[in-house]
Amino acid sequence: MKLAELERYFASVATSTSGPPVDLDEVFKSSSELSARARLGIYNRGYHYRLLGALASVFARTERALGEAQFERLGLAYLARHPSEHPAIERVGRLFPQYLGQLPEIAGEHVDLAVLEWARLTALVAPDPGAILSAHGVDPVQFPSSRLHFVPSLTTLSLDVRALGLFPAVSESSAGGAEASSEAQRRGVAVWRKRHVVRHEALDALELAALELARSGASVTRFCALFESDAPAEDAARAFRVVSGWFAREWIERSEVVTSV
């Protein structure tokens, strides 16, 4: 066999989920201590359980929610369908939340818990921001006509509130943002990394809409218009509180004055 055939053959045996073929001894050496089948079995177990371990480390809370046995069964089935596409092993779970979402037996909150865990990993490994803009660093005259640029780690999700309730309030997280509930309501959630710590926080619908508009490139004046109501004095205070919160969470990398709003 040529090199390419040998590598393909080895890979098919090492990644197989249905047991080794019968002709292993024609390709691999056996010894009195260990057969070729047993030797290839070491690679087969190593391949599957190393990747499963990587999946479990990223989706630790999903594993806890599903139970170890079910997570292992689903994880191995996922890995058979979606082998790793990234040089870093931790990224093997990129499609795991979607995979869970296609399985009718998996509850929606467990799917969304996996979505949240993947978003947290993505925030963890995101590039560092070039800078962090402080509220004191903005020009109050130009700020309304500015477009905000957000830190690379910031992302928004829409999640089942029960998934947020399943995510325990741990020291590294600012808040789960919601208590466990029996109803499948959805909440906007921001996920980001502040310095070295990944955080997530539930947002109300208006703040989420403003944030998404701001992230799409709208000027401060334009996204603050979302807060307009019949009480203009309260609108301004509300918009101020929201944008101040973005500065406090260190979401804003820089601002850029735009000529047309």
Binding site: M1, K2, L3, A4, L6, E7, R8, F10, A11, A14, T15, E26, V27, F28, K29, S31, E33, L34, A36, A38, R39, L40, I42, Y43, G46, Y47, R50, L51, A54, P83, S84, E85, H86, P87, A88, I89, E90, V92, L124, V125, A126, P127, D128, P129, P152, S153, R193, H196
Partner: protein
């Protein structure tokens, strides 16, 4: 092909490297990041797994910058797949070259194996058939990698559990020949030599003798476990007594080569990892003290 004439003499070869300062270090692991950010590490150099630092920021990058401010850092990869039949991942190589330049890496290394299939990553170190065809293939890919990195690549021997019927060369012959033809360096993992020797039934001393002294740039040490009829290279325990003995022989043959402790499973406290690296220093100091005394009285 490299063929030592007298194996016993070859194991005692040593070299002028014994006059260099002894350098020991260990691989950085996530569980130590917070402590490293607070106090740094006690070692002569550090090793990082390249893939865990490519294109990412946050704590990993802060740890790298903290350590690099004080010590040289070696880049050690697992996903290059130098023996793979898939095209080399050029994006990965570009990022790797950028990181190596940015931190002025002490070295860039990966494993003599294949680690990809059908456009996917195995995240394992699969053995190659040691044939002339594989040799030509690997040499060409090492040359391409070295061109892209603009520096020498170090290749590490992997732990093996199986051999191909098609292999015409031993692993050490293959490794030595790749290094010679491609101008690559060798990162010799002493634990892997021991584990493979037990699993495949060859002499670890014969392996050391088959490796050209001048190509060996670094040594690795790690723990292994009994897998039940075979040794498993799991990096989950201290270096075993047998491997320490083989390390002494490796130092006697290759001279004073920088040594890294690897520990990936059941990772102990940072202080324990530092102590394991210091043990490597003690072994090296013991081995070289006699030679240094002899060198000192030489006219």
């Amino acid at each position: 092909m490299h063929r030592p004439s007298d194996p016993q003499q070859a194991l005692k070869q040593g070299s002028s490297r014994s006059l260099r300062p002894i350098q020991v270090g260990f691989g950085l692991r996530v569980s130590h990041y917070e402590e490293i950010l607070k106090r740094g590490i006690r070692a002569d150099f550090a090793e990082i797994t390249s893939e865990n630092f490519l294109g990412r920021g946050g704590r990993a990058l802060a740890v790298l910058e903290r350590v690099r401010a004080e010590l040289p850092v070696a880049l050690h990869g697992v996903s290059l797949s130098i023996g793979g039949i898939e095209p080399l991942n050029r994006g990965y190589l570009t990022e790797l070259a950028g990181l190596a330049t940015r931190i002025d890496a002490l070295s860039v290394s990966d494993h003599l194996c294949f680690a990809s299939f059908g456009g996917h990553y195995a995240h394992d170190l699969w053995p190659l058939p040691y044939t002339e065809e594989a040799l030509v293939h690997v040499v060409a890919r090492v040359a391409e990698v070295q061109d892209r990195l603009g520096r020498q690549l170090l290749l590490e021997n992997v732990s093996s559990y199986v051999e191909y019927q098609a292999s015409a060369l031993t692993e050490w012959e293959f490794l030595a020949e790749v290094a010679a033809r491609a101008g690559a360096g060798i990162l010799l993992d002493v634990n892997n030599v021991f584990v493979s020797a037990q699993n495949l039934g060859f002499s670890p001393e014969q392996y050391l003798v088959g490796i050209p002294v001048e190509r060996v740039e670094q040594l690795h040490l790690a723990g292994h476990s009994d897998g039940g009829g075979f040794l498993l290279d799991d990096h989950g325990s201290p270096v075993t007594a047998d491997v320490w003995r083989l390390y002494e022989q490796a130092l006697a043959r290759f001279g004073n080569v920088p040594t890294i402790i690897e520990w990936d499973e059941r990772v102990p406290a940072l202080s324990e990892l530092e102590a394991e690296a210091e043990r490597a220093r003690s072994v090296a100091m013991r081995g070289f003290s006699g030679q240094r005394e002899r060198d000192a009285v030489r006219p």
